[in-house]
């Protein structure tokens, strides 16, 4: 399941809803992304996450489907927020549930890595020196590249 929303989410409630009634699940892994203080700034600012409605849902759905092809998951969920957010706020939630803990861990990490390169979100930070759009980081592409299937020569 995927959801794109301005509202906050409750990790415990999401886990409970996702796993209810399935007693084959042995392990549930969650990743919650939080808004950090901006690097190098002592002042705490807010940020706004813009996204591409329609394409966001499509890309999150594709990423989730890919994870479920690769790992034996009993359940999975991606929730991504948009709109104004302050440091400490939850931005994104990934949940994976499986009979096997390692599948749950690997799939969660895969989803988080790919979210950062495939999901159409753009972050604008507001600080004491005004607003700025955040640049993409090469590090995120590197993390996602780990999961590429080996290419044929």
């Amino acid at each position: 399941m995927i959801r794109v929303q301005a509202d906050d989410f409750d990790v415990g409630a999401e886990i409970a809803a996702l796993t209810a009634g399935n007693t084959h699940i042995g392990g549930v892994v969650t990743f919650t992304g939080l808004v950090r203080d901006f690097a190098g700034n002592t002042a705490v600012g807010t940020m706004t996450l813009e996204h591409y409605p329609g394409m966001t849902e499509r890309m999150l759905g594709e990423i989730e489907a890919e994870a479920r092809r690769r790992w034996p998951l009993d359940a999975s969920l991606i929730v991504h927020r948009h709109g104004p957010l302050a440091p400490g706020d939850r931005i994104v939630l990934v949940i994976t549930a499986s009979a096997h803990r390692q599948a749950a861990f690997e799939a969660a990490e895969f989803l988080v890595d790919w979210l950062k390169t495939k999901a159409p979100f753009w972050k604008r930070e507001s600080g004491p020196r005004g607003d700025r759009w955040v640049d993409a980081r090469a590090a995120d592409d590197d993390a996602a590249a780990r999961w590429q299937a080996p290419r044929q020569e």
Partner: protein, 85 residues
């Protein structure tokens, strides 16, 4: 053809969405960018550095050489920057 702009491309163009009718010879993402860049000073600034402009056609990522057709939804935006811990 519906064209969408996000983040600083939207700010430079001055709108998030516009309906355009490019001439028939505009058949690729790359040619569409050239054509759009001539519509206004804001468009020109939005497309001044093509290396950092990404595109999607009908909500799928597209390369500059990919095709565009009159009924398409074409979007332009910077590289994505979701949550990044």
């Amino acid at each position: 053809m519906k064209v969408l702009y996000f983040a600083w491309l939207r700010e430079r163009v001055g709108t998030g969405e516009e309906e355009v009718s490019p001439p028939p010879e505009i058949t690729s993402v790359s040619a569409l960018m050239d054509w759009l860049a001539k519509r206004s000073a804001g468009h020109a600034r939005a497309f001044e550095n093509r290396d950092i402009v990404r595109a999607a056609v009908n909500q799928e990522f597209a390369d500059p050489a990919d095709a565009v057709s009159p009924g398409d939804e074409v979007a332009f935006f910077p590289p994505m920057t979701g949550g990044r811990p």
